[in-house]
């Protein structure tokens, strides 16, 4: 059965290879960074299993690993890793033509197939794909098939896959890791009660008898908390428990489905505005080699603000009928 763990192990192997290539080039900080990350990915399942079984030690070691990554990240320098010359790329592009799209389209295509049909594939009474995170397992399988197809098509030697993958990974650098540490921060914030503090403070500040003030406090609370956490999913339970449920739904009798759906969408507007939502706003800056870390946010803030107004108007118009 194909499980998501295999994808993590495959990724751990790729990260270890990137560490090795950096070590050979004496880029020690980058080598150490990818090596620690490879260990965390390879051992992650075991860490969680031990923690669930009541042994906290592996999780604490993993925590030390996270601290190490934080210390190593500022020491990584973004360097231009050698690339094939533009002339060679152009002549290869003219030779291969549209066939170049095929491996690239295998990634969405296979992911789609596994996501839609994976649940029905059964061999010897066992499911071929584990139900847990099936689409992501599909993404991993798709990446593997795509790299094989790409190597076959371009007649590149197999080590080129690792070398070129590592070139892109080093282009991303520490930005690759930001989504993960932010999610970890979300976990710590939740456990520390940061959200309840904020919700409580807002309740003290606004005139709760005023319906519109409550809508604004809830919608903007979702935005602000999403901007801080980088994730609307993390903000939703906190702000809805703190403001939405007691003030809008219980006090003013608002429709919970409308409050929930539009509240979440206010949070999404916040996601478009914040560098904390790194996988959406900072990772592409590195991927597209943009100078300003805020280039993507600058391109999307007007859409975000207009949609936020739309959501707030819709909520105050529809939720209380």
């Amino acid at each position: 059965m194909l499980k998501i763990e295999y994808a993590y192990w495959l990724l751990a192997a790729f990260l270890a290879a990137a560490a090795w290539l950096n070590l050979r080039e004496r880029r020690l900080a980058a080598a150490a960074f990818w090596a620690v990350l490879a260990l965390l990915f390879g051992g992650g399942t075991a860490v969680l299993a031990a923690d669930a079984a009541g042994n906290p030690l592996p999780a604490r070691v993993a925590g030390v690993g996270v601290l190490l990554l934080a210390v190593l990240a500022p020491r990584m320098r973004r360097v231009q890793v050698e690339e094939v010359s533009p002339e060679m790329r152009l002549s290869s592009a003219m030779r291969l033509g549209h066939r170049l799209f095929l491996p690239a389209l295998l990634i969405p295509g296979v992911t789609l197939l596994v996501a839609v049909l994976g649940g029905y594939l059964v061999a010897d009474g066992h499911r071929l794909f584990a139900a847990d995170q099936m689409a992501l397992t599909g993404l991993a399988l798709a990446s593997l098939l795509a790299v094989l197809a790409a190597l076959r098509l371009t007649h590149a030697p197999a080590p080129a896959a690792v070398r070129e993958g590592r070139r892109l990974l080093d282009t991303l650098g520490w930005a690759a890791l930001l989504p993960l540490v932010l999610a970890a921060l979300g976990g710590v914030f939740t456990q520390s009660g940061v959200g309840q503090d904020i919700a409580h403070g807002v309740g003290l500040l606004i005139p709760v008898d005023n319906r519109l003030a409550c809508v604004l406090a809830y919608g903007l609370g979702m935005v602000v908390f999403t901007v801080i956490m980088g994730n609307a999913f993390a903000a939703f339970p906190v702000i809805t428990a703190g403001i939405g449920l007691p003030l809008l739904i219980e006090l003013h009798g608002a429709n919970p489905a409308i409050v929930g759906a539009l509240g979440m969408l206010c949070g999404y507007c916040g996601t478009l505005l914040t560098p904390m939502a790194a996988n959406f706003n900072i990772v592409p800056v590195a991927l597209l080699e943009l100078d300003s870390p805020y280039a993507v946010i600058r391109a999307q803030w007007p859409t975000a603000l207009l949609l936020l107004v739309f959501n707030l108007v819709l909520m105050s118009a529809l939720a209380f009928r």
């Binding site: 592996p58 689409a135 939703f236 991927l287």
Partner: protein, 235 residues
């Protein structure tokens, strides 16, 4: 009520203002909030470790990098740009609006991992966007090229967010439903997803208009620059 954990939020804000390394800032904020909430150091390390490894799925996109890298080495970006340049009727706004619609519809069906910044924006959408502009004029200047790329990235994000929330079986809708269920309010997923639909439509309309305006301003700026240059050449 213990308000000290809010210090972590202050660390985040101060760190971003000072432009410290974001990974360092975020981990430091977690440590500060955790200690302020009264966790012991070993407890805090365990919490950091488990939170980190439970979110490993967020780095899985890196598995696409070797395939993308090999194809880039063989000229994928160059070919994507040349192909778009051969489609005479395609403008930047039409390309980005079509992509936005496709991304929203796929996300509504739950297919959020099908496209994305590493999978589709860097190898395909960004070079194609640049090509549609260069089709109608000289090569892009560095500042404009970066703006076009950033707009391509923004279009992908907006298509993902304002499609995903309409999907019934995953993510946002289930989170909302689950939250209400634990507070004694029972809702059908469809009742929640339905209310996300107007915003999905508004997102398409608003962003398409913005892309149109963006393209028009870009073309005007480039025409003015070209005019100034030819006037200069006549001197």
């Amino acid at each position: 009520m213990n308000y000290w954990p809010l210090l972590g939020v202050a660390v985040v804000i101060a760190g971003f203002v000072r432009r410290d390394n974001p990974v360092l800032v975020v981990v430091a904020a977690g440590v500060v909030s955790g200690l302020a909430a009264g966790f012991s150091v070993p407890e805090l390390l365990g919490l950091l470790g488990t939170s980190f490894v439970s979110n490993r799925a967020l780095l899985l996109y890196a598995l696409t990098l070797p395939a993308i890298g090999v194809l880039e080495r063989a000229g994928l970006r160059e070919h994507a740009a040349r192909w778009i340049a051969s489609l005479r009727g395609l403008t930047l706004a039409r390309l980005l609006a079509s992509y936005l619609l496709l991304r929203q519809v796929l996300s509504m069906l739950g297919l959020t991992n099908v496209a994305g910044q590493p999978q589709t924006v860097r190898p395909l959408l960004a070079p194609m966007s640049e090509a549609t502009v260069e089709l109608r004029g000289p090569p892009l200047g560095d500042a404009d090229r970066q703006r076009v790329r950033a707009m391509a990235a923004a279009t992908d994000n907006i298509g993902l967010f304002f499609g995903e929330d309409v999907f019934l079986a995953l993510g946002a809708v289930l989170l909302i439903q689950g939250f209400y269920a634990t507070h004694g309010i029972v809702l059908a997923p469809l009742a929640i997803a339905l209310w996300a639909l107007p915003t999905a439509i508004a997102a398409f309309v608003i962003h398409t208009l913005r892309v149109l305006l963006f393209e028009r301003a870009l073309n005007r700026r480039r025409a003015a620059a070209a005019g100034a240059e030819s006037a200069h050449a006549e001197d």
